[in-house]
């Protein structure tokens, strides 16, 4: 305990020093910063190029971030010509005079229209795009999502996530995503800073994030920076958009799988707006009527956000999310024995954003509470339950200094979990616990010159009773058009785990708990990537990655044919490469994503030596998909938007069996004429078999019609699994009954909007 205060104390001293030095800098030069918004609806505009040019021709600039914030520092006092430009908007021009040491708030409202050609541009990255990956991070925009064929008019984030090269799902139901070898519980999912612990719905086409509510999503498949902590594999950082501050916009949509309604509008015009979304599944009511397979699924989500411009330099928003899911993943079981799984997410968050008048910083404060409740079994008497709840208080500060910036912040989290596992993991008892997690991070982002940008970082955090941990990280980017080379390295720790029995793909019950087998799970990431844009319409990228994970908790293997087991410790290694090709033409868009990956776990079960003659055993976990290919073709012809997606994945590992026999425990004098014995499964080497390959073709055609005035209707026809491929979802080794993924599904959806 004595060792804990020292690093935190040192970090605070450093932060104070940086803060004071930034103030000194600001006393000599001027700063121009503000928010960029769309004048038609008051929404923040990301990626707007804000450039200022001095009379002698010196150029300064910045691109607005997801909140529309731009900050231009180190401006010598004097007069400047200001220009803000963005595709699809009229360029804004102005002239300003800056005094020595002045920090000028300058908000820009851009009107939709055609940009002019003689724009002044500062160096800018194109936001989003299938091949735009830098140090493992890719930004996904709602318009990207809408290109993916899905059985619903409105898109969903998960539809896009499953096209990423090394994102593996175990099927079209279950809501389990494995990102670059990491388990679902190793992914940190945030919505406006709120923890969403189980963000994916039971049916694989849907998550808690419809594209209607999204601003942008950053997916960090690995090597993520110090701003994120507490998970060891990846980050899905979802940022919702705000509601229209000018006018009300309702919309409703219907499809055989889901119906939804979205309403947004001003509460106080130009100042305060709201955005609400409600989605309810209609699978059991509509889709099940014409699809031969059983579809015992019900789910929905409700999202609400109020955003307020409190003043010209600070804003606040309140966000709430509730999701629910219910389903039976193994429809083969007899009705009375069906193990229904249910889960609910609830989260509330407050976000406050400020550009202080006296210092050139961007401050962000986040306070949220999140809860996930999961149950398995009959609704009245669940056999297993698990809940994870907690709050998250985070303060993020970004200090700007020319082309460099310093990010730092601190956080306090306290996840609390309670579980009743019904003997699922026999060496983990029912438990109720808390794990306080205070910490701080420091992450300067330094532009060295010659296209080099370096972002070293460090997180220091106390993880419950596990101790204090320091996690260094590094991100390096070199860019000289059309080339970009990026790399990242980092150490990561996670002290709460989601325990899931991956011996059975239909068993997705996840029990959240303190790491049951000792120390916090930890990982080391390393990645190196190259991106090139040989022409304005073509992007190519390749990124190699490596992850080493230790102190994993996985189920032990046993020959008893039972559904409960002990946990054993394991380590994991993930190595692979993502290849992406993206083509953008005026009426055609397409990408090809190929992921090559190898995931190897090393089991450390006590009796491996007696069983296999090895004290430790390497095996391929059930999410080790070696090859994955996604092809998307999208075109607009004669007013129709047509998309086609083909997904191919090599077979996932599973455990084969030699047969079944009986077992008599001969630990002494045993009368075999009286001893009944037990059934036994003669498993082959764990996960030594390979399921058939997975592939599926989805297509959609969509057209929007103007009905009258501001009202419009979008009609979408889609076919999922066009050639009715019988992709295996689960195989019951005891009964040899197979459950396939969804068959060919035609859908027709309509969305009515008023703008």
């Amino acid at each position: 305990m004595n060792a804990c205060p020292s690093p935190i104390h040192g970090m605070w001293l450093l932060l104070v020093f940086l803060f004071l030095s930034a103030e000194t800098t600001s006393a000599q030069t001027a700063v121009l910063r503000g928010f960029v918004t769309d004048d038609s609806d008051g929404l923040a505009l990301q990626g707007v190029n804000v450039a200022v040019r001095s009379p002698d021709g010196r150029l300064f600039g910045d691109n607005s971030d997801q909140d529309g914030v731009f900050v231009i520092t180190s401006l010598p006092p004097g007069r400047y010509f200001v220009q803000a430009s963005f595709i699809g908007y009229q360029t804004v021009r102005d002239t300003i005079a800056l005094a020595p040491g002045e920090i000028r708030s300058y908000n820009i409202a851009m009107e939709p229209g055609e940009a002019e050609l003689d724009e002044v541009l500062v160096e800018a990255d194109r936001e989003g795009g299938a091949a735009q990956v830098t140090s493992g991070m890719q930004t996904i925009r709602p318009e990207d999502i809408m290109l993916i064929p899905a059985p619903d008019v409105s898109g969903d984030l998960v539809d896009y996530l499953t096209t990423l090269p090394s994102v593996v799902t175990t099927g079209d139901r279950g809501g389990q995503l494995f990102i670059r070898g990491g388990e679902p519980a190793h992914t940190l999912t945030l919505l406006d800073g709120m923890y969403i612990h189980q963000p994916f719905h039971v049916l694989g086409f849907y998550s808690a994030f419809p594209s209607d509510i999204l601003n942008a999503v950053d997916v960090h498949a690995g090597g993520f920076g110090s701003k994120f902590s507490g998970r060891i594999s990846s980050v899905i950082d979802v940022r919702s958009r705000s509601g229209n501050k000018k006018a009300f916009e309702p919309s409703v949509s219907f499809s055989p799988f889901l119906s939804s309604a979205v309403l947004e509008g001003p509460i106080v015009k130009d100042k305060v707006s709201f955005l609400g979304s409600a989605r309810v599944s209609t699978v059991e009511e509509i889709a099940a009527a014409y699809i031969p397979d059983p579809l015992p699924y019900s789910f929905g989500d409700f999202f609400g956000k109020v955003h307020a411009v409190l003043h010209d330099n600070h804003q606040a928003s309140v966000t709430a999310l509730h999701t629910y899911d219910r389903g039976i993943l193994d429809p083969n079981v007899e009705a009375g024995d069906a193990e229904e799984i249910r889960w609910k997410n609830t989260a509330y968050g407050l976000r406050y954003l400020i550009l202080p008048r006296s210092v050139p910083i961007l401050g962000e404060a986040l306070l949220s509470v999140s809860r996930l409740d999961t149950e398995l079994g009959p609704p009245d008497e669940p056999t297993r339950t698990s809940s994870l709840a907690g709050f998250n208080l985070t303060v993020n500060i970004t200090q700007f200094a020319g082309r460099s910036e310093v990010g730092w912040g601190f956080f306090l989290r306290e996840p609390a979990f309670e579980s009743n596992l019904g003997g699922l993991f026999q060496n983990v008892e029912s438990r109720k616990d808390r794990s306080p997690n205070p910490g701080a991070y420091f992450e300067p982002d330094v532009y060295i010159g010659s296209g080099f940008r370096v972002r070293p970082g460090v997180v220091g955090q106390l993880m419950g009773n596990k101790g204090f941990f320091v996690e260094p990280r590094l991100r390096v980017v070199w860019e000289r058009s059309p080339h970009r080379v990026s790399g990242a390295w980092g150490l990561y720790r996670q002290d709460i785990v989601g325990l899931t029995d991956r011996r059975d793909v239909t068993n997705i019950f996840t029990a959240w708990a303190d790491t049951p087998l000792g120390e916090a799970t930890k990982a080391m990431h390393g990645l190196l990537g190259y991106h090139v844009s040989p022409t304005s319409w073509l992007d190519l990228s390749v990124e190699g990655f490596y992850k080493h994970i230790s102190s994993l908790s996985i189920p032990e293997w046993t020959a008893f044919p039972r559904f409960t087991t002990n946990l054993q410790q394991a380590s994991g290694r993930v190595i692979g490469a993502d290849f992406r090709l993206e083509v953008r033409r005026p009426q055609f868009y397409g990408f090809v994503n190929y992921g090559l990956a190898s995931v190897t776990y090393t089991a450390m079960q006590d009796n491996l030596l007696f069983w296999f003659g090895e004290p430790e055993m390497d095996f391929r976990p059930p999410h080790d998909r070696r090859h994955q290919l996604n092809v998307l073709l999208s075109t607009s012809q004669y007013g129709f938007d047509m998309s086609l997606r083909w997904n191919f994945g090599s077979g996932l590992p599973y455990t084969r069996v030699q047969g079944f026999d009986g077992f008599i425990y001969m630990d002494g004098p045993v009368n075999v004429s009286e001893e009944p014995g037990l059934s036994r499964v003669l498993y082959d080497r764990p996960f030594g078999g390979r399921l058939p390959t997975y592939h599926r073709l989805d297509v959609s055609v969509e057209r929007t019609f103007t009905i009258a005035g501001a009202a419009s209707a979008t009609i979408q026809a889609a076919v999922i699994n066009v050639y009715d491929r019988a992709n295996l979802f689960a195989l019951d080794l005891f009964t040899l009954r197979r459950t396939d993924q969804l068959p060919v599904i035609p859908t027709l959806g309509i969305k009515l909007s008023l703008q």
Partner: protein, 341 residues
């Protein structure tokens, strides 16, 4: 137009590839090549006139219900004399859905001799095992002990004791309080508790030695009784010892019997081209009645247990007693006040 055809060509390529793959294999066979035909459990018992082994065909279906005939022929051979015996199949119902095949043969194996057991299928596939019957053993217990610590000596050649345990056979001692005449009370139940002494064995000249600590064991018995919702005191009726000296192969991995370990195929198996375990053993069974003075010193309860309708009755319930519908009606009427269920 060119762009349109380009995208159309791409589309055609993808559709063509998809159509090709549509015909790909979708079936999955979860079974590996099954080469081993049988699993055998049992052992040759030198003190018994009839020998038994249970035979499981290794099958592609789960379940213990093998009520029909199985394609198995069991033959044992005395490798010293060459004498062969064909064992007889018996179908035994162990419980609902659990019917097994136990093969038996009437003979008494001889110490020091090697025997081979073959279980063969009509297609020639065969599982087999060889064992050597160990030497006899001798057990000595004190005739008139005065202390609750009881020395036990086991003498014999190359002793390999398995499952050494001391079984305390007794009944829970319900407090004896009078009830109104004619009131029924729960019957006494025999609830034995087995204490392992395997880890307390010590080698001595010509054999092994261990010391029973009845007082320490009684504490373990009380814990076990309370775990099973019984009054914690036991009225001891007798102690039972069963000593099994086994052949060398009858040794668990790591020297400790752990069902999670030995259940794994091959973890403790001497069956060639098959699974399971076929052993040989010399056994000695002893029933022992400790003197009342020793029982008192060890802490055991004395007196008659509860009986149905006569004798002392039970009114003080164990703390874990709960009124619920699983209890017999007469017990609920006596112990459960109205509205307490």
């Amino acid at each position: 137009m060119i762009k349109f055809f380009s995208s159309g060509l791409l589309l055609a390529c993808v559709l063509g590839l998809a159509a090709l793959l549509a015909g790909c294999e979708t079936n999955v066979d979860p079974f590996t090549e099954a080469r081993r035909p049988f699993t055998i459990w049992g052992y040759l018992e030198a003190q018994a006139d009839t020998q038994f082994v249970r035979v499981f065909p290794i099958e592609k279906r789960i379940g213990m219900d093998r009520s029909g005939p199985i394609d198995a022929r069991v033959v044992s051979t005395d490798l010293t004399t060459g004498e062969q015996r064909v064992w007889t199949d018996s179908v035994i119902t162990f419980g609902p859905g659990n019917v097994g095949h136990v093969f038996w043969s009437e003979f008494r194996p001889q110490s020091g001799r090697r025997y081979r057991l073959e279980v063969s299928r009509s297609d020639g596939e065969m599982s087999h095992a060889e064992v050597r019957v160990p030497a006899p053993l001798e057990v000595t217990l004190p005739d008139s002990p005065t202390d609750f610590k009881i020395p036990v000596r086991i003498l014999g050649e190359d002793l390999n004791l398995v499952g050494l345990g001391v079984k305390y056979v007794g009944v829970p001692a319900f407090p004896a309080n009078p009830w109104p005449a004619g009131t029924p009370s729960p019957p006494a139940i025999v609830f034995p508790v087995k204490i392992s002494y395997f880890e307390k064995l010590q080698p001595i000249s010509g054999g092994l030695y261990f010391q029973i600590d009845m007082k320490e064991d009684y504490l373990a018995i009380q814990e076990e009784y309370q775990r099973n919702c019984l009054p914690k005191d036991m009225v001891l009726q007798r102690m039972e010892f069963e000593f099994l000296s086994a052949n060398d192969a009858w040794t668990p991995p790591g020297g400790i019997f752990d069902p999670e370990v030995v259940v794994e195929p091959g973890a403790m198996s001497n069956v060639e081209n098959g699974l399971g375990f076929f052993g040989a053993a010399q056994s000695v069974s002893v029933r022992w009645f400790p003197p009342a003075d020793v029982l008192r010193k060890a802490g055991f309860a004395s007196g008659a247990p509860c009986t149905m309708g006569t004798g002392p009755h039970c009114v003080v319930l164990p703390p874990c007693f709960r009124c619920d519908e699983a209890l017999p009606m007469e017990i609920r009427q006596l112990y459960c006040p109205v509205g307490d269920e």
